[in-house]
Structure formats: structure tokens, C-alpha cells
């Protein structure tokens, strides 16, 4: 279906070849995962398949790529629209209409399909993606998962032979992600569609895919069976790491396979006794009976009767579905979301009453887009501006940054460094004002496993050594298992669970990390815990 023969790609003004003499082919009806570090070139490979690279983005392409017998070098992406559908990283940016049904029909309109055929196709796709009840809704009112489904429907409606998706689950909660992936799985099986997905969160996709293309980052691509690639890959989901730690003979791809390979393990390892240390520290953030409403006042409360406390030196994760009110709650904690009633208190102060200068020494906030914070032209300038803004000794921010991670280059523009490095820069700017609590909103959206490990280590250091509180909202179950001491679960603007990470995560199957699912009768959450236990036993 897709054939790369001797393909090389380089962008102008870039020193690195993105792809170097790659040759492989993907068969009809295969589900293939594109895997690699951030910035390795996954998106570029994906866009090569429908011709957006190089026709839309520029770049020099040699070799031949053929999709369903057509050459993407000769044809423009628009001329491939009837065989390839693509769903970008931010589907909201690509929407053309405001109503679900119109958006889905748009692709058919441009292809010039007759209206009666069009009606039928739209109905089919609405059913296929379970969107029939949303057909007349405004797209902007839908949740992230629903929008993702609309984008997939809009790409599928033209009956393409190949569907390309760039990080389809990165903005979704675990349940919505599962929904989207099982729909893709069904399309591959029922319609013989060829699906190629670029994704960081391997634990979500690995069980569905047939083969993996590993993008090494030095230009080489490696296509192989899932088990073969995962055996040697530096990037692996927790389940595979668990199998490596336990030295299992095979690499399991799903929880079910793991249980088949290692049935005796559960009995051999006695249940983990969590060393619960009740921290009786000073309270940093307290919310009492907080209510907040939406701007259009027709919907129910955005936040309803929120009561919570966060202590010094504690890492608390805030979880919940898309649209459960997580961002509103975080913004309320820094006084940026107006609350209708209730009390918010950070170390004895009301954040809404503090002026900007006072606020930053109480609370630091890293927004969903860390770039919103940055305005310098180089890392050096950024750090100097931060020293001035925070009124600290010059060099403080830079020192903070070098403690977090290896600094790329002082002259590098903050927009040119990797996502993880940018997050680190934003975090060190926030930290240099030495706030009592650090709040992070969805910090792991574009981060690979390596960058996540660095983030986890840093957050633990901030909380456990410097005795600051960390409050983090995320969909990433594995991150929560790794880093959080306590989890607060939000649904429909209400706190429905508040307890230790172990209690909350093991209580709900959808939000359980892979290790907990694989070893259900133990209390382990992460591979690191299992590793530590094995050491102790020895």
C-alpha cells in the first residue's frame, strides 16, 4: 500500500537529515506505529506519506514514495485526498465548519461526490464513530475526545485507503484514548484500512498495532514486528520494562499476554506493604467550599463545592476526564479564574488579592503551553529577564536551570530547543522566585519517556528536598504513578476521590497504570518499585 524506496529528506537550513535512504513497505490493512524521541522526525515521516512534506512545508526529497500506486513526489496532497486521510496534532486548527455534520461532509463536497451518495456516506461515518447524537452540535462545544472523533470521521468519510494520525491521544484522558484507539482497531479489521499512528504514549497503543517503524533520529528508520522492535528499543512502555526487569523470555504486548507468560509471579511475590508515612506538615494550599460557574451560565457549575488541602513537600496529581474542570481549578488557585463563592488560601493569603509581584513568591504556575511564559531571544536573555522580573541575584535562574538538566546552549532561541528543555526553562523561571507551591497544567503533552523521567526526578527533588508543594494536572496515568504522593480525582467539577496514589489508582481499572494491571494482587504501581523489591529479596 505504501512503499518508500531509497527516500531521503532534508529541510533547508537544517544540518541534520530527517530521513536517510529509507526503504520499506507497509501492506494493506496494517496498523503501524511510528515511534521515536521528540523531534526525531515522526511527524515528517507521516507527512511524507500524504505529500504535505515537501509540497506544503518545503524540504528536499529524493527517492520515491508511492501510496496506492501513486507517487507523492509528483502529486500534490490535494490530489491524494481520495486515498489518504490525515488527522493532525491539533485537530481543532484544521476544522473548516462549526457544525459536526458539515465538517464531516466537507471532504466529500470538495471531491464532488453526488449529494445522495454523500448523505449515505455521512450517515455511515456518523455511526462508525458513534457521533450520530452529536451531529448538529457546535464543534467548539465538544470535549477533546469528541473533537478527535470528529476529525477522524472527517478524514474517513472519503473512504481513503490510508489513514494517518499524529499523536491522536496526547490530549485525551485514558478512557477517551481507549475509545479512539479501539475504533481505529475496528476500522483496520472491518474495512481493511491501513492506519499509521505517531504516538508517544506507547502503553496506550502498543496492544493494537501490528508493526512498528522506529525513527532513530539520525535519519535511519527501522520497520519490524512489534516484539522485535521492542526487544531492543531504548523506548519502551512500562509493561515491556516490567518484563525486562523480571527477565521474562518473551515481550508481552498486552496485560493479557503478560498474565499468560507469567502466571506464577503473583504468588511468588508477596503483597507490597506500602510504607505510609502520614505527613503532618504545614498546609500550603487550602480550598474551602469553592464554587465557580461557566461564563455562559447555562451549564452547571465548573467547580462545585471543592474542599482540598495540599501540604508542604507533597506532590498532588489532579486527574479527571477532559472538561472535568481541572484547568479551572488550577487557575482558581492562582486567582485567575473568578470563583463565585468559597475561600482559597495559600499560606494565609488569598491569591486573588495579591498583586503580581507578591503572587509569584507564593505560587508558580506553568501553563499548558510553556512558550506563553517565554519572551527572550536566547536562553541567556531569558534567564537574565527572569532574574530581573523575580528580583533575585543575577544568575539564579541559570543556576536553577543547570540543576534541572543539561542546558542545550546559552545562545539557542527558546523556541528552537526541545519540548522537554523548554518545560525545564519555564520551570526554572518559576522556581527562581522560590514559590511555596508549583502548579503544572498538563506538562507531559509532547514529552517522550526520557524527558518525562527528567521531569519526574526534578519534581521529586523540588517537593521532597526543598519542601515545596507540587500540584500537577495530567491525563498521564504512568506519570502520576511515578511522581505523585496523592491523587485528587475530579468529575463534573466535583472532587470524587482524594487519597494516596495507590488507593486512587488501583481503585479504578481505567486509571490504573500498567504494572498495577499486570500484577493486580500486589500493590505495585511502577517498574521502579518492582525493581526495588527484587533487590531487597535478593
Amino acid at each position: 500500500m505504501i512503499t518508500f524506496s531509497n527516500v531521503s529528506l532534508i529541510y533547508p537550513n537544517s544540518e541534520r537529515t530527517i530521513v536517510e535512504s529509507a526503504s520499506f513497505s507497509v501492506n494493506e490493512g496494517e496498523f503501524v506505529l511510528l515511534m521515536g524521541h521528540t523531534g526525531a522526525g515522526k511527524s515528517s515521516v507521516l507527512k511524507l506519506i500524504n505529500g504535505l512534506v515537501p509540497h506544503h512545508t518545503g524540504g528536499i526529497l529524493t527517492g520515491e514514495i508511492s501510496v496506492a500506486g501513486r507517487s507523492t513526489r509528483l502529486l500534490k496532497p490535494g490530489e491524494l485526498a481520495d486515498v489518504v486521510g490525515i488527522v493532525g496534532q491539533n485537530p481543532t486548527n484544521g476544522f473548516v465548519s462549526d457544525i459536526v455534520e458539515d465538517e464531516i461532509a466537507f471532504g466529500l463536497e470538495t471531491l464532488g461526490i453526488a449529494p445522495d451518495v454523500m448523505r449515505k456516506r455521512v450517515e455511515e461515518v456518523l455511526d462508525l464513530l458513534a457521533l450520530a447524537s452529536l451531529r448538529r452540535r457546535q464543534i467548539s462545544e465538544l470535549s477533546g475526545g469528541e473533537q478527535q472523533r470528529v476529525a477522524i470521521a472527517a478524514a474517513l468519510v472519503t473512504n481513503p485507503k490510508v489513514l494517518l494520525l499524529d499523536e491522536p491521544t496526547s490530549a485525551l484522558d485514558p478512557i477517551a484514548a481507549e475509545d479512539v484507539l479501539s475504533i481505529l482497531h475496528r476500522l483496520v479489521h472491518d474495512l481493511g484500512l491501513t492506519v499509521i499512528v505517531a504516538e508517544h504514549r506507547l502503553e496506550r497503543v502498543i496492544q493494537f498495532v501490528d508493526r512498528i517503524i522506529l525513527v532513530h533520529g539520525d535519519g535511519t528508520l527501522e520497520l519490524g514486528s512489534t516484539t522485535h522492535i521492542l526487544q531492543n528499543s531504548p523506548i519502551a512502555p512500562p509493561l515491556v520494562e516490567l518484563a525486562r526487569t523480571l527477565q521474562l523470555p518473551e515481550i508481552p504486548l498486552s496485560i493479557r499476554e503478560f498474565r499468560k507468560i507469567a502466571p506464577h509471579l503473583e504468588n511468588a511475590m508477596q503483597a507490597f506493604q506500602p510504607n505510609s508515612v502520614e505527613k503532618d506538615n504545614e498546609k500550603v494550599l487550602t480550598m474551602k467550599k469553592v464554587f465557580a460557574s461557566y461564563q455562559d451560565a447555562e451549564r452547571t457549575y465548573a467547580l462545585s463545592d471543592i474542599n482540598l488541602t495540599i501540604n508542604a513537600g507533597e506532590i498532588v496529581a489532579l486527574m479527571g476526564r477532559n472538561g472535568a474542570g481541572k484547568t479551572t481549578l488550577l487557575k482558581a488557585a492562582v486567582g485567575q479564574a473568578p470563583i463565585t463563592s468559597g475561600e482559597i488560601d495559600i499560606s494565609g493569603k488569598n491569591p486573588a488579592r495579591l498583586n503580581d509581584q507578591e503572587l509569584i513568591s507564593y505560587v508558580g504556575y506553568v501553563p499548558q503551553e510553556p512558550t506563553d511564559l517565554l519572551y527572550g531571544h536566547s536562553i541567556q536573555e531569558e534567564c537574565e529577564l527572569s532574574d530581573r522580573d523575580n528580583a533575585v541575584l543575577s544568575g539564579t535562574t541559570l543556576k536553577m536551570y543547570s540543576e534541572l538538566m543539561a542546558i542545550p546552549s546559552l545562545k539557542a532561541h527558546p523556541r528552537d530547543i526541545s519540548e522537554g528543555q523548554r518545560l525545564g526553562l519555564a520551570l526554572s523561571i518559576i522556581l527562581s522566585a522560590s514559590p511555596k507551591i508549583v502548579i503544572l497544567d498538563e506538562p507531559t503533552r509532547g514529552l517522550d519517556y526520557e524527558a518525562k523521567k527528567v521531569l519526574v526526578a526534578n519534581l521529586k527533588r523540588i517537593a521532597h528536598q526543598q519542601q515545596r508543594s507540587v500540584f500537577i494536572s495530567t491525563h498521564d496515568v504512568e506519570l502520576v504513578a511515578d511522581v505523585a504522593d496523592r491523587v485528587i480525582f475530579l468529575a463534573d467539577g466535583e472532587v470524587i476521590a482524594d487519597g494516596t496514589t495507590r488507593q486512587v489508582l488501583t481503585a479504578s481499572p481505567a486509571f490504573a497504570p500498567q504494572v498495577a494491571k499486570a500484577l493486580p494482587h500486589t500493590q505495585w504501581l511502577t517498574v521502579a518499585e518492582v525493581e526495588r523489591h527484587i533487590h531487597e529479596v535478593k
Partner: protein
């Protein structure tokens, strides 16, 4: 305009009406100020006298300051209202419809034009939202710079944000074959309804009446055309 003002402000483009209203008020204020300060001498009852600035001979007939007459205020007011009406009419049209829907209606040969106008008309509302977002984020960084420096800092990410959205939209249109296939069709074409006829004919009649009253010699031909037009519109 009343519809635009009262409707739910949920979509990004519908917020443009509020911005336009502010802009219109500002334009009105500036125009009235100019009417009071600068202008040619006009007859009428003198309301008050401002100190007059003597200008070089080059600007014959133009005065800065001087007596303010009712006539001068009225003519200034007329022009200011005209300006406000123009801005609000444009904003109403803009805020009641998604600029993107223009893309679906435009014929194929206007592909480039449509794309350009959609991208430019959707930049303003999106930028407005991005500005709010970035400004809030900056406050949490304790940014001290004010004025020009502050705006330079905000403009950069906002522009980048809008540019990225526009590129994404163009890529989405491109990969969905927009402008490539010979004869696009319409899914559920909008039907011409009775209400549409009423609205259009109402607009034509009132326009004709205004012309008729302004120029009485045209009254009779226009009245005749009423009788000709009505059956045409009714069919």
C-alpha cells in the same frame, strides 16, 4: 445588529462584535472631537468659542479652535454616525457567521482568494484570545516590563500562534483536496425560504422608498417598479 448583540457569545468570531462596538465608540469620539476642534467656518448659532490657533497661509479656510456652531456640531455628528453604522454593519456580518463557511461557498476559481481572506479574517478573533492567554501567563511570571516592551513580548507568541493555526488550516484544506477537484457539490444545500424572500424584498422596498423620498421626481417610476417587482419576487 440587535441579533449580534444579544446572541450567545460562545464562538470566537462572535466576540468580534464586542470589540467592534468598542472600536465604533472610539471612532465616534475621535470624529466628534475633530468636529469641535478643526473645521471650516460654518454658519449657525454659536454655542461656545474655543481659543483659535493661527495657522500659516498654506491652510486657507481651515481653522483650529474658534467658535463652535450648531451647524458644525450637527454635520460632525452626521458623519460620525455614518462611520459607526459602517463599522457595526461590517462587524455584524462578521460576527454572525463563521468566516470559515465562506470557504465552502466560494467557487473553485476563487480558491486562493478565499483561503487568504479566511485566514486573515480568522486571525483577529483568535489573536484576541491568545492575547488574553499570554497576558495571564506573563502575569504569573511577574513580568515587570510595561508599555512597549510588554507588548513586544506578547506580540511574538501571539503572532506565532496565529501563524501556526493558519498553516494548520491551510494544510488541512490542502490534504482534504480543497480546490483540486473539478466540480465541488453541496451537502444539504441551503434552501431558499419564504423568510429569505421577505427579508430581501423588504430591503429592496425600503431602499427604493428612501430614494423616492429623497428625489420626488423619481417617485412615480419607483411606484411603478413596485408593481412590476412584486410578482417577480413572489414567484
Amino acid at each position: 445588529m440587535a441579533v449580534a448583540f444579544t446572541q450567545k457569545k460562545s464562538s470566537p468570531w462572535s466576540q468580534t462584535f464586542d470589540w467592534a462596538l468598542r472600536f465604533a465608540i472610539l471612532a465616534f469620539g475621535i470624529r466628534m472631537m475633530i468636529a469641535v476642534l478643526i473645521g471650516v467656518p460654518m454658519p449657525g448659532k454659536t454655542l461656545f468659542v474655543l481659543p483659535q490657533v493661527t495657522l500659516p497661509d498654506l491652510f486657507v479656510g481651515i481653522r483650529v479652535g474658534g467658535p463652535v456652531t450648531t451647524q458644525r456640531l450637527l454635520s460632525g455628528f452626521d458623519e460620525a454616525i455614518l462611520l459607526v453604522a459602517l463599522i457595526l454593519l461590517f462587524a455584524t456580518a462578521n460576527s454572525l457567521s463563521n468566516p470559515h463557511s465562506l470557504l465552502r461557498i466560494l467557487p473553485k476559481r476563487f480558491y486562493g482568494l478565499g483561503l487568504a481572506s479566511v485566514i486573515s479574517s480568522s486571525v483577529a478573533p483568535q489573536a484576541a484570545r491568545a492575547i488574553v492567554r499570554v497576558r495571564n501567563a506573563r502575569r504569573l511570571r511577574g513580568q515587570k516590563s510595561r508599555g512597549l516592551r510588554l507588548w513586544r513580548g506578547i506580540a511574538l507568541p501571539v503572532l506565532e500562534d496565529s501563524l501556526e493555526r493558519s498553516i494548520d488550516l491551510a494544510a488541512s484544506l490542502e490534504s482534504r483536496g480543497y480546490g483540486y477537484f473539478p466540480s465541488p457539490t453541496r451537502y444539504r444545500p441551503e434552501r431558499w425560504k419564504f423568510n429569505d424572500t421577505m427579508a430581501i424584498s423588504g430591503a429592496i422596498y425600503s431602499l427604493l422608498l428612501v430614494i423616492a423620498f429623497a428625489n420626488s421626481t423619481l417617485l412615480i417610476p419607483i411606484l411603478i417598479s413596485f408593481f412590476v417587482l412584486t410578482p417577480v419576487l413572489a414567484s
